[in-house]
């Protein structure tokens, strides 16, 4: 389910965690990495990707939405 966060590009700034309106993403402060913790609660608004300065967020729709 969207979004996917590229661990190599994520700098752990936490913007996507802060800006996610649904509390889907949470920053792992220890690893300094944003984690998509509740992927099935995403509503695909794209805010995480819009505000990621590192371009670390990719939106990938699941087969269930694309194929039905």
């Amino acid at each position: 389910m969207p979004p996917r966060i590229d661990a190599a590009k994520c700098n752990g700034c936490g913007t996507c965690d802060r800006h996610c309106p649904i509390d889907v993403i949470e920053l792992d402060k220890g690893k300094r990495l944003a984690v998509v913790k509740y992927p099935d609660e995403c509503w695909h608004c794209g805010s995480c990707r819009l505000d990621c300065k590192e371009g670390a967020v990719e939106i990938v729709f699941p087969p269930r939405m694309l194929l039905v």
Partner: protein, 565 residues
């Protein structure tokens, strides 16, 4: 240390805005500009929270250009026509028409003008409008810009706080209680006046994709304000309407007005452009008619239904692709990942999930507001999709501002903060945190799934006296399971609270539906036992209010003379 601090962190403010979506940030800016100390509280961050957090591409407005349709009078006539029985023209005239020029000016001032780069307006016609009211614009960063303005005007923002209850003192609201969804800290906010702006209720009906968060509007919006305000004694109205829309198959995304506004045609499986059979405006018919068309074509064996944009010029297709991305940032990704190219392929459509929201673009459902955006509860104002008269981009920007002004004026008339009843804090804390203490029971997901199924089966596009009573009886049984809800962490605790808000909204919707013994707005309230629209008896609002623990039902008739300018 005040005695309240033993319960959690205490804040004091003149105006408290609950819900920092599009209505909330505009309310906050208004209250701050009118001299109030303002606090905004939101479950997320106001930069991106709410249904328009990720962007918006249209702003409905008349611009007084000299065209007959482009006037206040024509807009009000259109509102009265497409939302007859639900829209209150006197309220719309005051809070939408009255605030519209300032709203357009405000967006330009904060760096998000409604004009194209060449300074002109790009306007399209859709959804039953008498002329091209939809100003297309790039609202991808509208929310962050408004948030910046709210912070610049001195508003304090409390993020990641779920508000669970209104606190009352001698019949007036004295503040709210909630909790931080990451730390669990109890938050008490005392205020002289409040603006409630938490949006409509999503996740309420079964989702056709089986994914409950795949919703047209923000799934974090679960009727908090409607539910809390009703419990505290506020009147709510227009709650019976089931809102549905037409969306790309598989993805409940915004974009319908962009598609039909640019000239997209709805085709059935036989390749027929069927909408003219349902409404003289064809593909540009009001939303409830488009829903009816798609639903009935499918049910008549002429589905699936598609959006056809193949005939559009390259220039129009480019504009369409851009504007779809402004409205729903990820929709162009979805269309691409689905392998559809709008210049040569058809896009399959479906009817979306149901939601509690207004029956038209020009009014909403929820807390009943007057010409000042005041609810029937002293000190409480409401705006946006949780109020009965404002929804969609432009009415929310205008109405939010009107509510903030009203609340600031009210706060000025109040000498000091009202006392807080500590017993209410103790009770709210006990109720809200109980699911964390339970070892086993019902998850919010299971609870919500039951609710969605009951509501969709009994309160969906086919309603009868029997089905509505069946829903109410089942909701009564579900009510008893509230005490079994469990949460394993604070995120789930927030969801458990949302599930209970949704149950409250579902019940109100069922009660109102029972009393509206007619059909209005097609499948948005389709009583098959009363299939006709009955203006003689039902041209107005079903109003619900809590009195001595019971739901009191009254009828507020509405008339449609255009108010004097």
């Amino acid at each position: 240390m005040s005695s309240l601090e033993q319960y959690g962190k205490v804040f004091e403010t003149d105006v408290l805005v609950v819900g920092g979506g599009l209505a909330g940030v505009n309310a906050a800016i208004a209250a701050a500009e009118n001299g109030a100390k303002v606090t905004i509280v939101d479950k997320a961050a106001i930069e991106r929270s709410g249904s328009m957090g990720g962007g918006i591409d249209h702003f409905a407005a008349y611009l007084e250009t000299g065209e007959q349709w482009d006037t206040r009078q024509a807009y009000l006539a259109y509102a009265g026509k497409i939302a007859r029985g639900a829209v209150n023209l006197r309220v719309i005239d005051k809070i939408y028409c009255g605030e519209l020029p300032a709203a357009i000016e405000r967006l330009a001032r904060i760096g998000n003008p409604l004009t194209q780069p060449d300074g002109t307006y790009y306007r399209t016609q859709s959804l039953g409008q008498p002329g091209p009211y939809m100003i297309n614009f790039n609202g991808k960063h509208l929310k962050p810009r408004l948030a910046k303005e709210a912070r610049r005007t001195g508003c304090r923002v409390l993020e990641k706080v779920a508000v669970t209850d209104l606190l009352t003192s001698d019949g007036a609201v004295s503040g709210v209680i909630g909790f931080n969804i990451r730390t669990g800290e109890v938050i008490v906010i005392r205020a002289k006046a409040l603006v409630l702006s938490t949006g409509n209720t999503n996740r309420l009906f079964e989702n056709p994709t089986g994914l409950p968060f795949n919703t047209w509007q923000c799934p974090a919006d679960t009727g908090a304000a409607q539910s809390m305000a009703f419990r505290a004694g506020a009147a709510v109205a227009n709650m019976e309407y089931l809102r549905l829309t037409v969306v790309p198959k598989g993805f409940s995304a915004a974009g319908l007005n962009a598609l039909t506004g640019m000239g997209g045609k709805l085709l059935n499986a036989l390749g027929e452009e069927f909408m003219p059979r349902y409404h003289p405006a064809g593909n540009k018919a009001p939303r409830f008619k488009l829903v009816e068309g798609v639903l009935f074509e499918n049910q008549s064996g002429r589905g699936p239904v598609f959006m056809d944009c193949r005939h559009l010029s390259r220039e129009d297709l480019e504009h369409l692709n851009r504007t779809l991305g402004y409205d729903k940032d990820t929709l162009p990704d979805f269309i691409r990942q689905k392998g559809v190219d709008l210049s040569k392929d058809l896009l399959e459509l479906m009817v979306s999930e149901g939601m509690q929201s207004g029956p038209s673009e020009v009014c909403a459902s929820g807390i009943k507001i007057d010409e000042e955006c005041a609810s029937t509860l002293p000190a409480v104002y409401a705006a946006g999709d949780c109020a009965d008269q404002t929804r969609c981009c432009s009415p929310t920007i205008a109405g939010g501002y009107a509510a903030g002004k009203g609340a600031a004026k009210y706060a000025q008339s109040v000498a000091e903060l009202r006392p807080v009843d500590e017993e209410q804090i103790v009770n709210a804390k006990e109720r809200v945190f109980a699911p964390l203490k339970r070892e086993e029971g019902l998850s919010h997901r299971e609870f919500e799934d039951i609710l969605r199924k009951i509501l969709w089966e009994n309160l969906g596009v086919v309603r009868t006296d029997g089905s509505i009573r069946n829903a109410l009886s089942k909701l009564d049984k579900l009510e008893a399971y509230k005490d079994r809800l469990v949460a394993r962490n604070l995120h789930e605790l927030m969801r458990v609270n949302e599930a209970q808000e949704m149950l409250q909204v579902g019940r109100l919707s069922a009660v109102a539906s029972l009393h509206r013994k007619e059909t209005r707005f097609g499948v948005f309230h389709r009583r098959v036992d009363y299939p006709e629209t009955d203006d003689a008896n039902f041209c107005g609002q079903i109003v619900l209010q809590k009195r001595q623990g019971e739901v009191k039902v009254t009828f507020n008739p509405l008339t449609y003379e255009i108010p004097e300018a």
